[in-house]
Amino acid sequence: MNTENLSESQLQVKFITKQEIYAVPDVPFSVPVNINIKSLNKLLNELLKENNSNIIKSIDFDFIVLGELLRVSLVEHLEERNQSTEATIEIEYVERTQAPEPQDALLHDDWVSSIQVADKWILTGCYDNTINIWSIKGKHQAASNKHTNCVRSVSWLKKGDPTKGFVSVSHDLTAILWNWEVGTNDIQEHAILKGHERGIDTVSVSPDGTRLATGGWDTHLKIWNASLETDNDEPPSKKTKGTFVRTPLVTVKGHKETISGSMWSDDKTICTSSMDHTIKFWDAEMSSIKSEIVGQKAFLSLSWSPLNNMVLASSADRHIRLYDPRSIEGSICKSTYTSHTLWVPTVTWSQYSEHLFMSGSYDKNVKLWDTRSPKAPLFDLSGHDGKVLCVDWSNNQYLVSGGTDNNVNIFKNNNYN
């Protein structure tokens, strides 16, 4: 009875979009209430063809109703949000995010704990104490095993510019600044950063590339000079010629447990996540806490997006949480993304879209998410045969991830041209 009614009854909808080329006239349409994405797509494509003669082949769209991606039939979507079906519904449509294509897998000797892409070079840190540089085509370019314990995090000193060198941090309590002649296998360690008392887990470079922030098991956040220029005060390393030992500029204490993730939000602000259930924003110049978000669970990583100024934090309880640090009412969790079944040790925003982000989990999956779809990710990027330890999307074209199966998987992003 009810379903019959549903199939018969109609609903007023209006299509809007932010993409100019796909604009349709602003006229309300009557559609059956239980219309799904497929039918909507059909309808919209016909509309487009009527209006715009340029568009010949049909395009897949995603529809956003009430701020969330439509994944079920329209009426169910509305019912879930207690929305009346009487009023005219505005449906925003965007070109559908296309599935990333698996491109390559780079086999390492041991677990890949960290990864970052700059231009066409992939920098990975390994549990066998090595740092590797691969070309995006899958060619092993250079390696170094100067660390004496597992490398936990790596980062290019300048985003997208491999010529400026990179930094790696390790559980041997040191971080190393490296010089690399792009395209060669010549990696020079420039300076050894000593000062941490326990293993270092995270490193991040300020947007201008002059400062480093590291954090680890000694719960201290340390800020270092990231320049590859030689400072006269720095003593040369005893072990290796041509390298210097550098000490931290500032040590900031505030976290109670290990710092699991860090990110510079601007040249003066660092945000860190910690296992003590907090995300803290630090003023790098004043070396003090600016603000704090208190969560419920231990955070394992964080990512801050300059596009929407929001913080994503993943935790041991399988969820990824979206926080708005600007909200005054405190640490309000904007939404929770649940699909992983085990720990989510890594999460990262896309660089070009304020809605997209990717995450990797111990359940062997890498997932591509849209912030507007909290219940289900856009795509599951499977391929790993072990825990995923790190993901990176620094290069908009490539989604890369590394895990305990010693592999780095590269997916090509078809959305970004």
Binding site: E197, W217, T258, A316, L342, K387, T404
Partner: protein
């Protein structure tokens, strides 16, 4: 006497209500008996007509006299005397007037009758009346008066009449001194009949005989009667034997008494009532004294009554008007009732309390029918069977033989009817019936009210990481102080160090021997793991984490401190401190303690300098406490009572817990004395752990119990938890969260909420929260050890399936 009687009567009449008047009348009659006797005596002597005057003037007097003459036994007549006086009198008067002519003739006949002995008094009276000529006028006057009496003036006329008589005979009484004081006869109060034989009747004051007056014969009497006008009121004084003529007052008195009036003629019965004690409040009360104290105090008896009423109201015995009204309306409203009582309910019977109705007999089936279907009729086989049980009919399926009749008419009378009825009756009254109470307790009701686990978060809820790498069962695990690494000891004779967050095995160190216990040194300044491998206890520097600390540790342990202490033989035979070989040193071994028996457990003191080792087979050298800085061992317990299972240092105080199979003994290390002995009430203790607060102890036992001891409460367990169906092998408290976990052979790890309150009055709250069963069972072993993460609400469990599992919130 008569006066007294009269007075009594008056008193009584005044005070006793009318109801019992009749009885009193009887009494008064009895009291006046004497007087009546006197009068009777007189009348016996001479039934003169003159007394008729009185009789007729007042019928009641007459009647009394009549009854008296009849023999004084007619007391019952008194009541009847209260006839309607007026009617009687009228009749009498008429009769009398008629009879006047005849009276002279009847004299002789009267005499005859008198001689005969006064048989019929009524006849006599009627016949006597006209004899007296003098009485005639009086009778007439009386008739007048009686007629007057109808007007209400009869009494006064009568008194006048009597008074006239009095005036005549006043003189005679002047010399008469026959009152009670004037006792002329000195014989005293004796029955005078004693003097019947004598001529005298007693003695006077002078001692002279008082002679009886000459007794005249009947004729004299008669003459006297005839002649003496005062004869009717002459009585004989029994004391002196003299005749006494009653005075007018006496007569009046008698008459008043007989009339049941106040003997005192002067008494005004109709005096105006003076209300001395009025209900009105007076300015000056009649009683001048103040109100009695009790009139101000609340009455106790009334209070009692009130409390009785209140109690009965409470108990519902007494209903208030409102309640009664309510009940009535309810009764009126619920006016419906079953026409027939239902079958399933017990019949309500008065006087039979809790009547259990007899069980119903089974309804007859088809077999009992007079015309049963053919299949119910016995075939030959069944018939055989029927006959087989001839001797033991109780074994038969049916107690009768199904039989077929063409019609109901042909059914014969049932021969067993009486017998069966009789048996049924026997059943009913010989077989006692009893109501069996069945307890209907829902299992849910027995479970104590506990907070929902949801409200007790955080606690581990999902399995997150599996640490795989050991090749045999993992007997023990230990987590370092900051939660970065974990060490595990296994039956594959290795220990492994794991990175907790990634599940990576950082190091594997072979130790030659089954590792039964490992523990990370609680002192953060040194990086050491205590490993119990077979009969060796090895101190291993894992060389991870802060290399400065590692180096310091190495330095600390490099050289043995010089000690001039002489080690006793007992200790020497128990343990030997050995430096590792180079090969071993490279593996991380820093010190080796060789024990004489297999070591089952090692545990650090909170400060990280002392550690205790347990050798269950070591008898009186079972427990050993060693000091790292001085490389010295001692045997704290000279004679442990029982097989030592495990030991524990108190987290803050210098106390030492030793668990034997059945008891946990608490020793004070400073005083070197036993402080407490906890009774586990179980057979075999496996492990124990102490709450970081130090006041609560958890003990796991092989007989499936988990015991929570509150050390402040008693030596008995505060709570006994039977969470596991098999032996409990591991138990651990969380250092920060109110959690504890237990691991058992059934592969179950149970995480429970164990909140200890700072308030000493509040007992610990224990709520089982979550059960994990991820481990696999190997050789009937499940979980060997559970440990909590030092900061997070995460629990590790190691099992016989050679894995370690982390459960996260």
């Amino acid at each position: 006497m008569a006066k007294k009687g009269a007075r009594n009567k008056r008193k009584l009449e005044e005070h006793i209500p009318k109801k019992i008047e009749e009885e009193i009348n009887e009494e008064s009659d009895v009291e006046t008996d004497d007087l009546l006797n006197v009068i009777n005596n007189e009348e016996d002597a001479d039934s003169s007509d003159s007394d008729r005057d009185i009789e007729e003037s007042d019928g009641e007097v007459e009647d009394v006299l009549e009854s008296a003459t009849n023999g004084n036994d007619d007391d019952s007549d008194v009541e009847e005397e209260e006839d309607d006086a007026d009617e009687e009198e009228d009749d009498d008067v008429n009769e009398e007037e008629d009879d006047i002519d005849d009276e002279e003739d009847d004299v002789s006949s009267v005499e005859d009758e008198e001689n005969e002995g006064w048989t019929s008094s009524e006849n006599e009276e009627e016949e006597d009346k006209p004899k007296n000529g003098t009485s005639l006028s009086e009778t007439k006057s009386k008739t007048k008066s009686s007629k007057n009496k109808a007007d209400g003036g009869s009494v006064s006329s009568l008194t006048k009449l009597v008074k006239n008589d009095d005036n005549k005979e006043d003189d005679e009484y002047k010399n008469d001194s026959s009152d009670d004081e004037d006792i002329r006869n000195t014989v005293g109060n004796i029955p005078m009949k004693w003097y019947d034989e004598y001529k005298h009747i007693g003695y006077n004051w002078d001692g002279k005989k008082i002679l009886k007056p000459p007794q005249g014969d009947q004729l004299d009497e008669f003459l006297k009667k005839m002649e003496d006008p005062d004869f009717w009121r002459t009585v004989k004084d029994p004391q002196t034997g003299q005749d006494v003529v009653l005075s007018e007052q006496d007569i009046e008195l008698i008459r008043r008494i007989q009339a049941r009036r106040n003997p005192d003629a002067q008494f005004d019965e109709y005096a105006p009532w003076i209300e001395w004690f009025t209900s009105e409040v007076m300015q000056m009360p009649v009683r001048k004294f103040p109100e009695h104290k009790r009139s101000f105090l609340p009455s106790k008896s009334e209070a009692k009554k009130v409390s009785k009423l209140v109690h009965s109201l409470k108990m519902g015995w007494l209903k208030t008007l409102a309640e009664k009204e309510k009940e009535r309306t309810k009764k009126d409203a619920m006016n419906f009732y079953m026409l027939w009582e239902s079958d399933d309910q017990a019949e309500h019977m008065r006087r039979i309390y809790k009547h259990i109705s007899a069980p119903k007999r089974a309804l007859p089936g088809h077999a009992e029918s007079y015309n049963p279907p053919a299949e119910y009729l016995f075939n030959e086989k069944e018939m055989k069977l029927w006959k087989k049980y001839e001797e033991t009919p109780s074994k038969r399926k049916l107690h009768f033989l199904p039989q077929k009749y063409d019609s109901l008419r042909k059914v014969p009378s049932y021969s067993r009817f009486i017998k069966e009825r009789f048996l049924r009756c026997l059943d009913l009254y010989l077989c006692p019936r009893a109501i069996k109470m069945r307890l209907t307790i829902e299992p849910e009701d027995l479970v104590p009210k506990l907070p929902s686990p949801k409200d007790l978060q955080p606690f581990p809820s999902v399995q997150s990481i599996i640490y795989e790498g050991h090749s045999d069962m993992v007997r023990c695990i230990s987590v370092d102080k900051i939660g970065q690494y974990m060490v595990s000891g296994s039956d594959d004779t290795t220990i492994k160090i794991w990175e907790i967050n990634t599940g990576r095995c950082v190091k594997t160190i072979p130790v030659e021997g089954i590792v039964r216990s490992v523990e990370w040194c609680p002192n953060t300044a040194i990086n050491l793991i205590l490993v119990a491998a077979s009969n060796r206890v090895i101190l291993i520097n894992p060389n991870i984490g802060d290399y400065v600390v590692c180096e310091k540790t190495d330095e600390l342990l490099k050289e043995a401190p010089l000690s001039d202490l002489i080690i006793s033989d007992k200790v020497k035979t128990t343990v030997q401190w050995v430096d590792p070989t180079e090969e071993e040193y490279a593996k991380g071994f820093r010190l080796i303690l060789k024990h004489f028996k297999e070591v089952a457990q090692v545990t650090w003191h909170g400060k990280g300098d002392y550690f205790a080792t347990v050798m269950p087979e070591g008898a009186n050298k079972a427990v050993l406490i060693s000091q790292l800085s001085k490389r010295r061992s001692q045997i704290p317990l000279a004679k442990p009572k029982g097989l030592v299972q495990c030991v524990l240092f108190h987290p803050t105080r210098p106390m030492f817990f030793v668990a034997t199979q059945r008891h946990v003994r608490v020793y004070d290390l400073l005083k070197q004395a036993m402080v407490k002995k906890l009774t586990t009430e179980s057979k075999w203790v496996s492990k124990m752990d102490i709450h970081p607060g130090g006041d609560n102890l958890l003990v796991a036992t092989y007989d499936r119990k988990v015991l929570w001891f509150d050390l402040d409460l008693s030596t008995k367990p505060y709570q006994t938890l039977r969470l596991h169906p098999t032996a409990v092998r591991a138990i651990a408290y969380h250092k920060r969260y109110p959690l504890f976990a237990t691991g058992s052979d059934d592969t179950g790890v149970i995480v429970s909420h164990g909140m200890v309150y700072n308030d000493l009055l509040q007992n610990a709250l224990i709520v089982p929260l979550k059960r994990f069963e991820e481990h696999k069972r190997v050789n009937d072993f499940g979980v060997f050890d559970v440990k909590f993460h030092p900061h997070q609400p995460w629990v590790f469990s190691s099992g016989a399936d050679s894995t370690i599992r982390l459960h996260c919130n």
